[in-house]
């Protein structure tokens, strides 16, 4: 049987004509998405890539001291380097000292090995009076760091253009003199505590939100519309209210002379002159974050519970189940997508939470994002802020990945 070609009205085979129309539609859809896609690509996706790049970029020293690193290539690292290395360093450092551009070097090299900063500063002052020739002796006379092999080793170690030292720092690890990875001293391990605290807060806030949200979502979903709409305001008004307003209301409530402490004193749980500290610690962070993130748990739970027919529970009971078994075997499994979405949402938001911990958390309640902001705003160690940000981002993406494997990301419902 020969295949008969169907022609469209203008004589083109229908198949071809259809494909053309299909392609046109595809292009049209792509063109609609195009502007936002390009906008986000340039202003958002590339900058995140830039952040990754900054966290490992370590070309600053090499670019400031090119001759030194070229000369150090030959050095075996056993004894003090030869005159030519000192001369190369003079060639690199002299213009920097004249132009007053050596500041970044102090900081970076001092991070590699402490002592560099004072040594370089002194060298910076003296180098202008150096005489030509015999640089090795002049350097060694200037400061004791130039007599020590360790400092030259440390300098040579900064040679590679890419370094994951910032990531090690984020995990309280560092390179020792032999380039082995070791833990930093016990009393300086601050980041591990921060990561653990962040995870801890995010976990417990998620649990609290879930425990509080489940009953009220159920109530909202089962009440007649006219009552539930009214009660829904209690959920939606905080949801739409500025985060700072809600945080400031918690600051009013939790302060030492605040209503909650008044209540505690009135109930006789604490003496008036010994009011408990509710704010500027982890308690404040927990309470305020739970209340602030509760709507994010209620809304997905509610939207899932709304779709569960009450007759299912009745059927369960009529088949002999107690209300409890009916709930465990029927209702609870059906709410799983809502539970998943709500927990994911709350966990992800709280893991990157900044404002509330910064205001009510104090020192013992601050989280990893506060540290990122500190390095962005105050210490200006942007590379380290980038490294911490990247670690957080990887963590968040991993959570999404696991969630997607377990529940499926499409099951997320927003309000």
């Amino acid at each position: 049987m020969s295949k008969e070609q169907i022609l469209s009205s203008d004589g083109v085979p229908l198949e071809v004509s259809l494909k053309k129309a299909e392609r046109r539609n595809k292009i049209r859809a792509l063109m609609l998405v195009g502007p936002l896609f390009l906008f986000l690509l340039i202003t958002y996706v590339f900058p995140i890539g830039d952040m990754l790049f900054r966290s490992v970029d370590d070309r600053m020293i090499t670019s400031k001291l090119p001759n030194t690193f070229a000369a150090l290539e030959q050095w075996d690292g056993k004894e003090l380097p030869d005159e030519e290395v000192y001369e190369a360093f003079y060639k690199d450092f002299y213009p920097l000292a004249i132009a007053k551009e050596a500041g970044k070097l102090y900081q970076r090299l001092n991070y590699e090995k402490s002592g560099f900063s004072s040594g370089l500063k002194k060298t910076n002052r003296k180098i202008k009076k150096f005489e030509k020739g015999n640089y090795k002796e002049q350097f060694m006379a200037t400061h004791k760091i130039w007599n020590k092999v360790e400092y030259w080793t440390a300098l040579k170690n900064t040679g590679p253009n890419w370094s994951y030292a910032k990531y090690l720092k984020g995990m309280d690890l560092k390179f020792d003199d032999q380039r082995n990875i070791v833990q930093v001293a016990e009393d300086r391990q601050i980041h591990k505590i921060l990561w653990l605290r962040t995870l801890n807060v995010a976990f417990w806030v998620t649990v609290f939100c879930f425990c509080l949200a489940y009953p009220i979502s159920h109530l909202l979903a089962t009440l007649p519309m006219k009552y539930s709409n009214l009660l829904m305001i209690c959920v939606l008004l905080p949801f739409w209210t500025s985060l700072l307003v809600r945080t400031s209301s918690w600051m009013v409530l939790l302060q030492q002379q605040g209503p909650i402490n008044d209540l505690i004193v009135w109930l006789g749980l604490a003496a008036n002159d010994n009011r408990p500290e509710l704010m500027y610690n982890v308690i404040g962070t927990f309470v305020a974050m739970t209340q602030i993130l509760l709507p994010f748990m209620v809304l997905p739970l509610y939207s899932v519970m709304k779709t569960i027919s009450p007759s299912l529970m009745r059927a369960g009971k009529s088949l002999g189940g107690t209300p409890l078994t009916a709930f465990i075997k029927i209702y609870f499994p059906l709410t799983m997508p809502g539970i998943g979405a709500g927990c994911l949402l709350v966990f992800i938001i709280s893991i990157g939470y900044y404002i509330t911990p910064a205001l009510v958390g104090g020192a013992s309640g601050s989280l990893i994002s506060n540290t990122i902001a500190y390095h962005m705003k105050s210490s200006l160690d942007w590379a380290f802020a980038s490294a911490l940000g990247t670690m957080l981002l990887v963590g968040v993406l991993a959570i999404y990945w696991v969630y997607n494997k377990l529940v499926g990301i499409d099951n997320i419902k927003l309000g």
Binding site: G34, L36, F37, V45, P47, P215, P295, I355, L392, L393
Partner: protein, 284 residues
């Protein structure tokens, strides 16, 4: 929820316990907001209830902090309000247009790699704000837009579009495409069809997306904190600065105004949602 007469006593007890628990949770949700209201009318400089206030003595209350907010010397709220409104206005327009257009493309059944595009377009909402803020700051600093309104507006467009994309695609998912085909068969060109048929039907979704974008911009702290110079200060930044220094009654007055604003936004969002459901023929 009245219980039938035959309910056994232990179910009754459980039921009422459940209602009490729920009321406590609702109280926990809403009560903190209402603490601010009376305290913002405090006649004294403290932010706890004075004895006169508790006795409901009119002398205990005053509009002093509201006056301070508006006419106080050296107060930043005027500039901050202006900046916040300008930034939020342009950011809303930008994100609404970009987001709606993209949502139209994403909802087309001819769109290739739909899931991947969707994931990318809503990523600013998924990635923790502190990371987005860091990345956006690097970009804006590089192109010289740090400490400018333009830079902040662009950042808020980035953060606001995901909400528009989500609400508009949700609206379009219940959209009856035969009406656009009908318009096309009656000789309307695509642009005309969009303006006359599609847009009026999805308007509620677009506006509620725009509301989300507005609130996102109006309430955003982290990016502005990284980017803003002194002239770009916004209401949230001023509140942030104020709260870090000292909790003053003036901040509570500002907070009260913001609560009133969010009530208005809530009411309009709720009305829009109902209208949208009615238009799409969903009766729940």
């Amino acid at each position: 929820m009245a219980l039938p007469n035959y309910t056994p006593i232990h179910y009754r007890i459980w039921h009422y316990t459940y209602l009490v628990i729920c009321s406590l949770v609702f109280f926990f949700l809403i009560a903190p907001l209402f603490v601010i209201l009376p305290l913002s009318f405090n006649a004294e400089q403290y932010i706890h209830f004075s004895e006169k206030m508790l006795a409901l003595d009119p002398d205990g209350f005053s509009l002093r902090w509201y006056k301070d907010m508006i006419w106080g010397t050296k107060n930043p709220w005027g500039l901050a309000t202006k900046n916040s409104l300008v930034i939020a206005f342009f950011a809303t327009i930008g994100s609404t247009i970009l987001g709606t257009v993209a949502a139209l493309g994403l909802s087309s059944r001819h769109m290739p790699y739909k899931a991947a595009f969707m994931a990318l377009l809503i990523s600013p909402m998924i990635v923790p704000l502190i990371i987005s803020g860091t990345a956006i700051f690097f970009f804006m600093a590089k192109v010289g837009l740090a400490a400018t309104h333009t830079g902040i507006i662009l950042s808020h467009i980035i953060l606001g579009t995901p909400f528009v994309v989500i609400t508009v695609t949700a609206t379009l998912s219940g959209f009856d495409h035969s009406v656009t085909r009908a318009a096309a068969s009656l000789g309307s060109n695509p642009v005309n069809t969009f303006m006359k048929v599609t847009l009026p039907l999805i308007t509620p979704g677009v506006i509620s997306g725009a509301l989300f974008a507005f609130v996102t911009s109006f309430d955003e702290v982290i990016v502005v904190l990284f980017l803003a110079g002194l002239e770009n200060t916004t209401i949230p930044i001023q509140m942030w600065v104020g709260l870090r220094e000292q909790l003053s009654p003036t901040i509570l007055a500002v907070a009260t105004c913001l609560i009133i604003m969010s009530t208005l936004i809530l009411v309009s969002a709720e009305l829009l949602r109902r209208r949208s459901e009615r238009l799409r023929g969903i009766n729940r």
